[in-house]
Amino acid sequence: MSILAELQRRFGDAVVETHDHHGDPTAVVARDALLAVLAHCRDDAALAFDVLMDLTAVDYLKFPGREDGPRFEVVYHLYSLAHNHRLRLKVRRDEDDPNVPSAVALWPIANWLEREVWDMFGVRFEGHPDLRRLLMYEEFVGHPLRKDYPINRRQPLIGPAS
């Protein structure tokens, strides 16, 4: 049974959308089911996704054809060492409520990846133990990879820490 069929069978309507382009399975899941889907992907013996390869986000603010839809998409790239297969999971969030449950309890690497996504996109991860900026400095205002952040905005220089 394919990975996507298994997810659809088990989680039903929580799997909003799927595609399998060139053997590259991708599923969009509802936010409320996200943690259950992730935990199942990790712990199920047939799936056994033991590696969170990447966790990132996309801002669809100015994306042709998707300007009206949910603005943010948080993307999880999973890989299974045992089965050598991959899965991409996406969860969509509106601009006014960019909240996603944290995956730190499942994969510790999610800690820094989620901090980076918070830093760059301003997506909050509920339950994250220490959601601080990762790449930018604390005094920085805004989230620079959002499409409405002016590309050449200047922010005040920071001095040496006293």
Partner: protein, 152 residues
């Protein structure tokens, strides 16, 4: 020493001459310009000819700060602190276009020229500058050091 084989000079010029041939650099290397800096510092180009062959990796022992490579906003306070830790007299060389103006990094992360943080004596443009440009900049710095009014 025979009769008449002496010369007179001004103390200023003697000190300037000595200083320009005893450049102890602090290489503040952050990016790809570092490769070109290493090429310059190796035997083929031999900057020991200019008395600049011995980099010091403590700002307290250095008198020329070579800022080599892109400086991000997060790195800016570190650079300022290193500059502050150097003892007088001190000079700063902006190595590569990123340190001169920010280069093509016109974005949220990059300082638009290190002269927004610390004073700069010599700018060496290029992405990265060839060793010949670096040596040209070094000689310009030597001229500047030699001509500078000395404080004793």
């Amino acid at each position: 020493m025979g009769v008449g084989s002496f010369f007179t000079s001004k103390l200023d010029e003697a000190i300037g001459w000595a200083r320009k041939y005893s450049i102890f650099q602090y290489p503040f290397v952050t990016a790809c310009c570092g490769m070109e800096y290493m090429a310059t510092a190796c035997s083929h180009y031999d900057i020991d000819r200019f008395g600049a062959g011995l980099p010091r990796f403590s700002p307290r022992q250095a008198d020329v700060l070579f800022v080599v490579g892109t400086i991000s906003h997060k790195m800016a306070p570190v650079l300022k602190r290193v500059y502050d830790q150097m003892t007088e007299p001190k000079w700063v060389v902006a190595f590569g276009v990123c340190t001169c103006t920010g280069g093509f990094y016109d974005n949220y992360a990059t300082v638009q020229g290190i002269d927004t943080i610390i004073p700069v004596d010599v700018y060496i443009p290029g992405c990265p500058p060839r060793p010949e440009s670096v040596i040209d900049g070094l000689m310009k710095l030597q001229d500047k050091i030699a001509a500078q009014a000395q404080r004793y």
